[in-house]
Amino acid sequence: MSEQVSRRDFLKLAGLGAATTAILTGCGPASRYVKREPYQQMPEYNLVGQSTYYATTCRECAAGCGLVVRTYQGRAIKTEGNAHHPLNLGKTCARGQATLHGLYNPDRVQGPSTGSWDAGIQAVADAFKKYKPSEIAFLMGMTPDHLYDLVSDLAQSTGMNAPLRYGALGMFESRATLSKAAENVFGQAGLPWFDVGKAQIVFSFGANFLETWLSPLAYTRGFAGLREKETKLRGTFVQFESRMSATGAKADKWIPIRPGTEGLVALAIGRLVSEIRSGAALPAFANVDPAQVADEAGIKLATLEELASMFVNSNVLAIPGGAALGQTNGLEIAEAVLTLNALSNNFGKPGGVYLSALAPNQEGTSRPASPIEMYDLVEKMKSGAIKALFVHGVNPIFELPKTLGFEAALANVELYSFATFPDETAAKAKYLLPDHHSLESWGYQRVATGVALPVLSGSQPVVSPYYDTRATADVLIAAAQAAGGKFASALPYKDEVDFIQNKVASLVGDASGSFSASDTATFMARFQQYGGWFRNVESLIVPDASKALYNPVKTTKPSFAGNGEFFFVPFVSPTLAEAGANKPWLQELPDPTTTVMWNTWVEINPDMAKELGLANDDRVRITSEAGSVEAFVYLYPAIRPDTVAMPFGQGHTAYGRYAENRGANPADLFGAYYNDAGDLAFAGMKVKIEKISHAVKNGGLSRMESLMGVYGEGLGGEEH
């Protein structure tokens, strides 16, 4: 500075800067990337000492929450929730917070395996030309939607297989089952949305809605609404499950029922309620005998009667989910629980059941591939019907049950991976063409559920790409153009941003939304600035359940594969979920129920463990019909004695230094059994437990809790 600036003036200037920091920034289409610059030559919007904030969308799960990322001199410092985003209203979960540990992960893929991007793009173009379109398949993760749209367009105009989407979270949520149950009960497929926040009483049959289920932030906000008692009575929450989940831990009443009997219990409660109300059982509930159900579920008839009396004079919201749907009779369970809602006549009413709204540029409901559809893909790979497989945003070797044989089938195909991290599947790729991290990427994501407004959540790069990575959309567009012919005409775009502008073009000029703009450039600038666009019209679909109470609900007995003595309940780690294991701070977050960090455990009832001679931190082998894994014993006071449980999230053999060779993957135990909707019966098995070795001092699980005071260990007497 050549002029003399007094200290007072300088402070005034700095203050002016501070006043503008809270304003969100969007960069116009002309400036596609924010550059990391030395601070002597910062871009004009980047005041030294001041942060710049960019709105984008979280891709740690498929919910589509809005983020605002604080950047400082071109580096992302902190993720916060986007307060303008209708889905998460400024909040984030732990995984959203830790997304920076993905961006700055020391084990990212740093460049294409082909050496240069030109060679990589040529390899993709060659694959397009070399194989018949029917021999090419795309397998994609649950995010991002814009890339899925691009590949769908490409597949549609060239005759390639329509892209499949898959993620372990989607599998554990049994989305196909929920959708099919809605179709069977309401006559309309779709993802049900349960308005927990305005409910009086919630009966959750296994749904882990406060953990990773569908849209955890929206459901957690709903739960806070349920418990709110300044303006209404505090709502009551009852959870039915065989192992107390982090969600069940918040319940006012926790009812440990035998796995697979959730549907029977729902129908028995329905029968008791309808008998009290009208003296006779309605046809939907006529098939069950409450006394017999109590016996099968392993609870007292008095418990069912008590629950029914809670129900009689109030409205109950019944939610099916979690391991309840991962049974061979999962579809019947979902139907029974949805039908129970008909007794409260709460469909399309506050505190009741809706079908989720469609997002602004969405034509029809869509769902990820069910495991049985994934099985078809694997069979096609094995038979040679598919010769080239493109994988983006999913790690199928880890996330699919081993028994499906995906890894072995890879030998028959040429694998093109777009992985950002060196995961198990990327390690097998012939061509590894890394995509940017989500915070370096353009895109959009449709909010599938969790909010009454249709939301299209927008992504923009908040930092310039750290490594020699390239947006997969750009790679595909370039390859399609190099391949020529129908490929080139399928994707006639300059680049990814051009494609996104084309896809949101229908919203330009739409006056019903959170903002309106008359031209594309303005629309895109605001789309980035606000982190998306939403229609200001509540668009939840009201299901028609007028016939629900008059059709008898089927009750099929669950079947359990294997001849072990324990029911097996796998659950998604609430902190790690499907892809968190490579983020060190997520590893160091204590599990909400067990407080274990950095490893895998198997939960056993303390009385049962005593009978088996097992103690905390003993090493055991868990064997199912399909395989076996090893884990540490955790004496868990809130699990049925006939059940053992294990978290999904660890057990990687690749995926970077924080994930590798740590814990075990319960998916290795899953057999290839499905429910009637094609979802995997991941909880439909029985396992054996055998002790491998005694606990060794300081060799067991790292826990946040002290063992002292939990089971009286460490107080003397129970040392071993």
Binding site: K12, Q97, R221, E588, P592, N605, P637, I639, R640, V710
Partner: protein
Amino acid sequence: MIRPDEVKMSVEETGKWGMTINQDVCTGCQACVAACAMENNISFVGEEDSGYGRSMHWIRIERFWEGEYPDVRMTPQQPMMCQQCGHATCEPVCPAFATVHSQAEQLNLQVYNRCVGTRYCANNCPYQVRAFNWRDYQRPEPLSNQLNPDVTVRRMGVMEKCTFCIQRIHRAQDTAKSEGREVMDGEFTTACAQACPADAIVFGRVDKPETLVAQITNNGRGTKHLAELGTLPHVTYFKEG
């Protein structure tokens, strides 16, 4: 536990900044823990050290079990962090004056470059919320790009703890001062409260009766942990909303 209305508090003892925690809606999801770690440059220590109880969490979520199966129950989740005591037991034992009381902000400060690592303060803290750097914990490149420039990076031999995000307090105060006004309620909040999906954590000025946090604190249903020790904690817990 003593209810806050049973403890006679002078205005000074109420403190300036305070927090309320609604255990009825806390789901134990760990979003606050992750947000705190990201905001405050907290090191992760790895499996072995965390097994020895050396993890650096400034906030942790406590839960206990009651009863026996099948009538077993988890007690309401209890986020526990530095209670920013009015009469802090950690302060008088520090030989280096690293743990001192801020007259201006009524908070317990931890001055890292004074700390010589005697760990007396951690021994004396009844809430067990202080974390000691037993090693120089590594952040392999490029993880260090994420460090918050507003927060000191601590090294081996230094004690650390929750600061009520004092960097955010100062930033808000500076902004308000340059605009010639007072800091408004809700203008900023701590990293944990900002992330909390259930809004279980509320932060703000407890000495101004119109603020949200003061209204919740003074509704008479809360408890202060170990208030009977006379520590005058500035965090109020609500078991049932």
